[in-house]
Amino acid sequence: MAEVRRYAHGSRVPGWDEAADLSKDPSVVPDPATTPVPEHVRAAITAQMAKYPDIRSAAIPALHIVQREHGWCSPEAIEQAACVMRLTPAYLTAVATFYDMFSTTPKGTHDVFVCTNISCSLRGADAIYEAMLSAAGDDPDFHVTRFECLGACDIAPMASVDGEYVGPLEEADCAQIVDDVKAGREVLPDKQLKKRPKAETYWNS
């Protein structure tokens, strides 16, 4: 039987002792005078807030904005969003930790989500994930992660590279993806989902 990994205190919950910044009071809405927010970030978040009857609805869009700005939902990023939205950082942290697309730990700038859900794994996605990991190596710019169903089972096994859906992938494609992203080119132009016609046309032509 595999040994259950335990943390200090006997806790089996990872991260229980990773403190948030305890020198600050999480229950206070950040003071605009002491929280510098870049003007374009403030404008983008304010524009989102204006769309909804309740400004709190802009929580997810605001987190998207600050994550794009900072690369991840760092304490500073969340504090900036909280400052503009007049919410507590604790509230936004609670939202950010719920959703898969927000990262509360530092990550690479290029997201590669490899789908390893049922349909893709039936087509060999686990091998693709391993190949993708080794293709990206320890390059800090890449954030390769396995993801639950991305909604593109017709091109299984597939991956989302910075939001661009590509598939069906073969192991050799992984190195190509890394090269394309590094060179700033379009990723695998022949395998992009958005260029694919409907299934009937695709298979019968």
Partner: protein, 453 residues
Amino acid sequence: MSDQLLYANIDEPGLATLDGYSRQGGYEMLRKALQMEPADVLQEMLDSGVRGRGGAGFAMGKKMSFIPKGTMDKYLVCNADESEPGTFKDRELMQKNPHQLIEGIIIGAYCIGANKAFIFIRGEYQHQADVLDAAVAEARSAGFLGERILGSDHTLDLVVHRGAGAYICGEETALLDALEGKRGNPRLKPPFPAVQGLYQGPTLVNNVETLMNVPYILSIGGAEFAKVGTETSTGTKVISISGQIKKPGNYEIVLGTPVREILFDIAGGPLDGRTFKAFFPGGSSAPVLPLTDEVLDLGYDFDTMAKAGSMLGSGAIIVFDDSTSIVDVAYKTAHFYRHESCGKCSPCREGTNWTEKMLKRIKDGVGTPMDLDIIDGVCDQILGNCLCVLGDAMAMPIASMIKHFRGEFEDYMEAKRAEAGLGPAIPQVNRGRQAGPGPMLQPAGIDPVPVSY
């Protein structure tokens, strides 16, 4: 009326733009609807009998009729958080024909008297969200959105809201919470969203495909629409076929088409040299059905699938063949639901977690046949005991796999034990009542260990 409503012209170049859509008679039905009374539009929807295409299959017209009359703030929310494994129809529909969705939303909002509408699209669909944003902007500048649409009294504002990756947000009340800027936890029902939904106002939540059917229903009339398909499953359905099959993809079929025709004629049959084993008829939440001759002859519609012990769900067919071990499929399924459980209700949070652990144990070759009984018991305890159906969505397929493929699970375990030189598994002493219902494996002559809670 042809067999294909949504897919016939979907690859028409330029369909995603207002010009292209107008060339095909787009927004004509909106003009027609605005001349009608909202109650007449509702009557057409009721007559059509169109059922929700998102998974639950609830009649759309009925749902609309639950929205109270009056002048309070009402909302229409389009559920585009398509996250059910195996489902990808809304993605293609939104990307290629966004204006038809917008037209459907405007008509729906007019029908219930909503002045604010949202499209909640999952965060991963970045390209599709951009397409929708552009289409909404076009529709707004053409006067289809905004104040006093086409000179009528109807006002509607439409916002495309991007989610951030959570399967649970496809559940309508969790979606509303996420839209209000909270963690996406489901709410206690009742009150249902139709009475108290977004911002406490009456809210109609509908799937993309359902709303895209609205302009068609108006153009041909509800009664005419109801003639297609079977008596209780009207219209056509876009189905997403994936897994180990020759031609995966989205296909539009008339409801009631036999499963055999779908899998063999439309999707090309199994990969070379393999035979089908079983399939999920409606996404990974649907109980699996082994692909026997009887199942292949069933019609693919809401009621037949329910009668066969499964469900049509979102219309996502995932097929697997004889090269795949049922243990792997079960583990992947349980793993997904464990990852996506929001953690609000204990039966689901703990049940998905332990089921995954037990399946992992089986997969690693250290399980015993008793684990199957325990999993079965856990699934039984989850069913119907949570606020939403996420727990059920794991319990149903896992329980069905154990039911249909128990022999394969046991053979797998024995083979793994033999590989490790462990000898045949001896059923362990029943640990007590918590092991759940069903025949327990209990060696003769040994009393069960007394359990004290």
